[in-house]
Symmetry: none
């Protein structure tokens, strides 16, 4: 199990984010933070307009280490030379159809193939990747957007792609370990406990005069649906029965607290 | 198909992003752009430190309209009062477990249930949402992150959640015959209706002697969790309030049967 976890982490460690000619240093910092939040740490910059820069540092927050270890290249070719799978992010449809997929599909592919050296290219803030750069890629990745305003901020695009990679790494690890228990603090009530409560509820509502036994209407059915839906745990049912006992005590004047 | 498309777009139009006490105006702008990129446009701000602000405008880029139509509130309660499904983003584990899911799971739930007024709460940059604010939520949403550095930038968190909503809307639209919404018979209660009920419950439990106002313990929090989880509809809340009024009548000795 721990071995599989290692494989997931290693896959992310082998994914490098390549920013091609970013013009705003804030985006470099934002991308670094987005990467580290999702467990990636290899940042490559191709001809950044300003780097290093205080704005990049500020936006990177706790991801200074990602900035400090970032590699700077003169060409995209140099940045990806040792990569086995090169992915280009693109919102535009190209004249020549290219292998492509959504962020989700491409991330799944990266995880499924595991262990490869991977590069994900992100283009310029204003103009994206050139056709020539897109043709260096094995596959193109599209982020679904609203047609009215499809242009994501650069660091945001990095965030979405890294998020998909992280999410699917976690899913891979969970699938191997089996479903996690939700970690509720109390055991769910049994059917018998729930029926006991419903019976107590009916009787308390009747003795209190809220419910006419001869003409109950839909009230109990609707209350049952509500409590069944809530899937109460045993402690919650005990608490609710305490309230019912209190009601009965008020009616009888005996103040019975024995339940 | 065109009908399904409409349903998807309408669902996103009914989702409001609520930023609680954001301190950096850049994050407000970044969130506005992230929203519009993904087809959302309803932004609510609770006590923003600086708004409007040039930094927000600059980061919003082509989403000025989202900023201009943003609503500003004094309290979270006011911002969500007409919402039927309230989601709180949270990275922390709470003492009392609460219904929760990943961004993907919660987004799927929003889309599946369609047509509800939905609020997604995002907390302060430094400290997130308070426990009290988290207890206003029907469900908590977690974004998977690397354990070493789990703290996402605020606007980035908005981006990830809006991306999941968009992605799943697209998936819904792609399905020619998607699963139908369960078609509940009554409208879900609003947050204001639920708060009214919780206040009534507290007061009825106190006058009946069930709850010691000076030493309430966790009882009310656990009852809140139960009822929030059940997501009662308006009719169910009316019925429950009828029971509470009956209890109050028993205590007062007036034997009110008027409900």
């Amino acid at each position: 199990m721990s071995e599989h976890k290692q494989i997931g982490s290693e896959t992310l460690a082998n994914v490098r984010v390549v920013l091609v000619e970013p013009s705003h240093p804030g985006n470099i910092g934002g991308a670094a933070r987005a990467m580290k939040n999702m467990g990636l740490n290899r940042l490559a910059l191709v001809n950044p307009a300003r780097f290093p820069d205080p704005q990049a540092q500020w936006r990177a927050a706790g991801a200074q280490d990602v900035l400090e270890s970032a590699e700077v290249f003169d060409t995209v070719q140099a940045a990806i030379s040792d990569c086995q799978l090169v992915i280009g992010t693109s919102t535009r449809m190209r004249r020549i159809p290219w292998p492509s997929g959504s962020a989700e599909e491409v991330a799944a592919d990266v995880l499924n193939r595991g262990g490869l050296q991977v590069a994900v290219l992100f283009g310029r803030e204003t103009s994206g990747l050139t056709n020539e750069e897109l043709q260096l890629c094995h596959t193109h990745l599209q982020i679904p957007t609203a047609p009215e305003y499809p242009s994501l901020n650069l660091a945001m695009a990095v965030q979405v792609v890294c998020y998909e990679l992280r999410k699917q790494t976690a899913a891979h690890e969970a699938a191997i370990e089996g479903p996690q228990s939700p970690g509720w603090d109390r055991p769910p009530a049994t059917a018998a406990q729930l029926e006991g409560f419903m019976e107590h509820l009916r009787s308390a509502l009747e003795v209190s005069g809220f419910l006419d036994p001869d003409n109950p209407g839909q009230t109990l059915t609707r209350l049952r649906r509500l409590f069944v839906r809530a899937q109460p745990d045993a402690t919650e049912l005990q608490m609710l029965r305490g309230v019912l006992t209190q009601i009965e005590g008020l009616v009888g004047g005996t103040g019975s607290q024995g339940e």
